[in-house]
Amino acid sequence: MTEPLLSVQDLHVEIATRRGTVQAIDGLSFDVADGETLGLVGESGCGKSMTLRAILGLLPRGGRVTGGRILFRGTDLLSISKDQMRDVRGRSISIIFQEPMTALNPVIPVGAQIAEGPIAHLGYSKKAARERAVELMRRVGIPDPARRCSSYPHELSGGLRQRVMIAIALACEPQLILCDEPTTALDVTIQDQILKLLLDLQDSSGIGLIFVTHDLAVVSQVCRSIAVMYAAQIVETGTVESVFTEPRHPYTLGLLRAVPDFDKVKDMLDSIPGIPPDLVSPPAGCRFRARCSFAQPDCMTGEFPLVATGDDRTSACIHWKQCRDSVMGDPVIATGPASGQSHGTEP
């Protein structure tokens, strides 16, 4: 077994707020291998984006890591100096944000924004970095890159802006790219193009991707393995195919049932009743218990760590077998993950 590219081990993050200390990430563990795409799925506020920020060492004010390790190629990112961390950011690990309009600097031409990484990290000359920028823009499918270089972000469409973001992320040939809902702000046709582009780039360069999203369709399109997060914890992991066809945690099941299915006309969308727990004082026992239809008295107390459930999968639910069995007679979604990663419209 080779060393994983990134290994997050029992990560704890707290954020001090006026209302009290929030357990933003509570005992998170996952691995990403070279060339692997991990989907990190969950509803808003469950700690997905906070995980990415913790990996980059950019927690918001008041946030701090209180435990665990983040190993990147065997080096603990939490123990290295600020200067070393700065060198990891952008060069070894980069990030693509959700909203390309606000994540690009409005007063700098996009070519210069792409060229900045190579100048800052790799010591490129201005001329060489500009050539690199044009090459990257061509690689991410921006038409007429030599001329677009001098365009400002507001002069580009949303899809092109996201391509620019991807070019910036790729500029220093990182080994890992964190994608923070990179397609959420785009309409579906552009979304498809961007996902396809990311997959192509990954195929050709073997970059590891962590894909944070709440969009299960996107996950099925790009990811091989998936980690489902709920209330600052991972509740289920496995390959996308197996998790989608046979969820072993009630929360995953609820998420999958909430996906609109165009083959079956329904009056109402299924939703998960209730709201996520307050992370300032999380309830004892299973955090999903109050919203769970499988809840039993033994869900009220104790710890609910991830346990192996066979087939290289884990679940935090002690009644996962019941959850699995309930799906047997009632398939969750018809649109299972397309085999392989060939899904996507032709350009």
Binding site: P106, V107, P347
Partner: protein, 289 residues
């Protein structure tokens, strides 16, 4: 070529207009303001072309002559040509006005960037210093400093830098506080850029326009301060021609030769109008989308 064809469908053909580059036309005020200033700067720079008189040469026998073909605006009590003194005086007033704004502009912007970006104790110390300086009436502070150091342009620069940086720090700090919350700053940090690079290349271009616009009206204000200091005898020492001292000198003859004090006054007003129009026009032109 195939690639170009494939991607061409993503976008309309990139005509100049399709790029959507927004070119805003300069407003009439900006054009008028720039024109006024350019004329004044040209007259000052090329002063020897417009007058053959030496602005400091004394001709006591030709004192207080009325305007004529020989002396366009007449002469003062010491027989010096007023038109020549006005032109050469513009050199001093514009140069001092510009530099006395440039120094506080640079210093204030630098301090504002640091205070706004780093916050914490740096910000606290800076803002208390700003409060202390703002607590004094501006002109009193300038006069005290110039009086202590002694009259002259060097004292004016020092006095203006000491007192005026607070305006720029105030503006830049506030703008940085707002700008650093933007996601593109988080993105720049996530890309591992150094703090110096983030401040200089990512934040400053977004906030500097406010300071530039303010500096235009600040030049007007500074020229008025220089003129005031000259009037009080604390400005540029005689016999160097300077508008403020010209007004002060002309004051004694206000009943008989009112134009001696009025003409440099009008020059100050015209320069002020030009700079104000320029500042307003720039504010419109540079205003972010």
């Amino acid at each position: 070529m195939a690639e170009a064809n494939a991607t061409a469908t993503l976008l309309p053909p990139p005509e100049e207009s399709a790029l959507g580059r927004t070119r805003r036309w300069p407003s009439p005020g900006l054009i008028a303001g720039s024109a006024i200033l350019l004329v004044i700067i040209f007259l000052a720079a090329a002063a020897p072309l417009f007058t053959s008189y030496n602005p400091v040469a004394l001709h006591p026998d030709q004192g207080l002559l009325p305007p004529s073909a020989q002396h366009l605006l007449g002469t003062d009590q010491l027989g010096r040509d007023v038109w020549a003194r006005l032109l050469y005086g513009a050199r001093i007033d514009l140069e001092v006005g510009f530099l006395a704004v440039l120094f506080p502009f640079i210093l204030g912007t630098l301090i504002g960037c640091l205070a706004g970006y780093f916050g914490g104790w740096i910000d606290t110390v800076t803002m208390r210093a700003v409060d202390v300086i703002l607590a004094f009436p501006f002109l009193v502070l300038v006069i005290v400093i110039v009086f202590v150091i002694g009259p002259g342009t060097r004292s004016i620069y020092i006095a203006m830098t000491v007192t005026d940086w607070v305006s720029y720090t105030w503006i830049i700090r506030g703008e940085i506080l707002a700008a650093k919350r933007h996601e593109y700053i988080l993105a720049a940090r996530a890309l591992g850029y150094s703090r110096r690079r983030i401040i200089a290349k990512h934040l400053l271009p977004n906030v500097i326009t406010q300071a530039i616009v303010y500096s235009m009206s600040d030049i007007v204000f500074t020229i008025l301060t220089i003129v005031t200091l000259g009037y009080l005898g604390l400005g540029v020492p005689p016999p160097t021609p300077e508008w403020g001292s010209m007004i002060a000198d002309g004051q004694g003859f206000i009943t008989t030769n009112w134009e001696l004090a009025t003409i440099p006054g009008i020059a100050v007003v015209i320069t002020g109008i030009g700079l104000s129009l320029l500042g307003d026009g720039l504010a419109d032109l540079l205003r972010p989308e």
